[in-house]
Symmetry: C2
Subunit: 283 residues, 2 copies
């Protein structure tokens, strides 16, 4: 079998990836979950035909969505991950010694199943500090108050089951679920892609209205549309770039050398946005 | 006509772009130069089937290859651009008031011709401070000594006519052509692409051996392989990030607001490299 995966992200602009074989294919009540073996990126997870991660590039997304908020919080003990059923975000979160408990709330059990079967490097599903809940993250967070230090929204694009993860009521519930000084991070699409821009702008406006501090940071993710991906960060404290980053790195950074993307200079550099991205989120 | 452009950058991984029509096609003694009208990126220039630029994303490459060296040099008066026959780099260089003269040395007249015909927003070929030479940039720079303040190597990939632009002898000649305190920038491929990595590493090693300071910085370029592009910077002075950047921005930065990518924070942020890129260039 010599086929190609193809994801268009704007008109007929898209990314194509060589496929050796399909390893997993399940239509769930929520979405279609597929895993492919590729010619250059190892195993590839897609949902509804959109790339979620590959074995070769997943470290960028998972390191950046985890270590940026966790090193900015003065003492992250309780962490909630919404989505993230592949396990990669939790793997990174659990590297922080301060973390006492992580709740992972994934709506679609098939994502966890596909990951356990075909991405053995991602999941740490049996970790004693981890609770996995298969269920609706939106309802889960609505039931929390002053309960967690960091929330990581690791969902898919704002079509299908993840649409509610871009809504004002969801972020209001996140704000209430966070303890004082709490930090929220949510994946926030690619500023290069016109069809994403309304959602990117909306998320930033909602967060700026509900938190004292909200900003966007960027990462290079080769298999995501246009290779540029944004993550929205909001803090119940002040600007976390003025916060305890240096102390936290000294205290809890013994695993930094083994990381493949994140480092403290890059952490700050990722918040330096190109003008066209600044204009998008400040409009 | 409804076709697609497709550039593979590794195995069967590649970028595809919707094409309305082909506007230009010339096989020169050096390479094949084509221009397409696309469905989402305006006009697209390709050389030997590889994307050089589109009207929509060219600002990233041209702003970053020009303003980073020019704002780091204390008084850039004479600038040499090797390659860059599309005119976009020269357009940005000429925004600096300090610049008294720019020499553009492009090997292939067809690139200039295609740009004049199909990229009217790029070229400022008739500017009184600009001299355009159609010829071999390698031979041109070999004839210079203590002559220019900034050299920008704006060539294509290290296959075909641009191969010599990645050689030790060429960079030695650049070093001699630069005045004291001079700065060299050379486009240096995508760290994500395995076939580019030997050239990226070789360029950084050559520059580190011939200049007191050499480093790499990164930009998000959506139509280049993997969306991440490196530019190598070398300085005959010390670390130019410790140099006169703030003074230069105050003195010559009246056009900053109109830029679409570059800003002073991003300038510094672009030098914050992911761990895997650091490891590549420090190996």
């Amino acid at each position: 079998m010599a086929e190609s995966f193809l994801e268009y992200y704007e008109g007929k602009t898209g990314l194509t990836i060589g496929i050796r074989e399909k390893l997993f294919d399940k239509q769930t009540p929520y979405q279609r979950v597929e895993v492919f073996d590729t010619d250059a990126w190892g195993h590839l997870l897609t949902i509804d035909g959109m790339v979620m991660l590959s074995e070769r590039d997943e470290f960028v997304y998972h390191e950046m969505i985890s270590h940026v908020p966790l090193f900015m919080h003065p003492a992250p003990k309780r962490v909630l991950v919404i989505g993230g059923g592949d396990g990669g975000t939790v793997r990174e979160v659990l590297k922080h010694r301060t973390v006492e408990h992580v709740d992972l709330v994934e709506i679609d059990e098939a994502v966890v199943e596909a990951s356990k079967l075909h991405f053995p490097g991602l999941g740490v599903f049996e970790h004693p500090k981890l609770s996995v809940t298969i269920g609706d993250g939106i309802g889960y967070v609505a039931g929390l108050e002053n309960a967690v230090d960091v929330i990581i929204v690791d969902g898919s694009d704002p079509t299908g089951p993840a649409e509610g993860l871009f809504s004002e009521s969801f972020f209001r519930d996140c704000e209430r679920a966070l303890k004082p000084g709490g930090i929220l991070v949510a994946q926030n699409e690619s500023p290069w892609v016109p069809s994403y821009r309304p959602a990117i702008r909306a998320v930033m406006q909602i967060l700026a209205g509900q938190f004292p501090y909200a900003n966007l940071y960027l990462s290079f993710i080769p298999l995501y549309p246009a290779g540029m991906w944004g993550m929205a960060l909001a803090s119940k404290g002040g600007d976390p770039l003025d916060g305890p980053l240096a102390e936290r790195l000294a205290e809890d950074g013994d695993f930094l050398e083994a990381l493949r993307y994140y480092n403290p200079e890059l952490h700050r550099g990722a918040f330096a946005l190109p003008n066209f991205v600044r204009q998008l989120i400040e409009e």
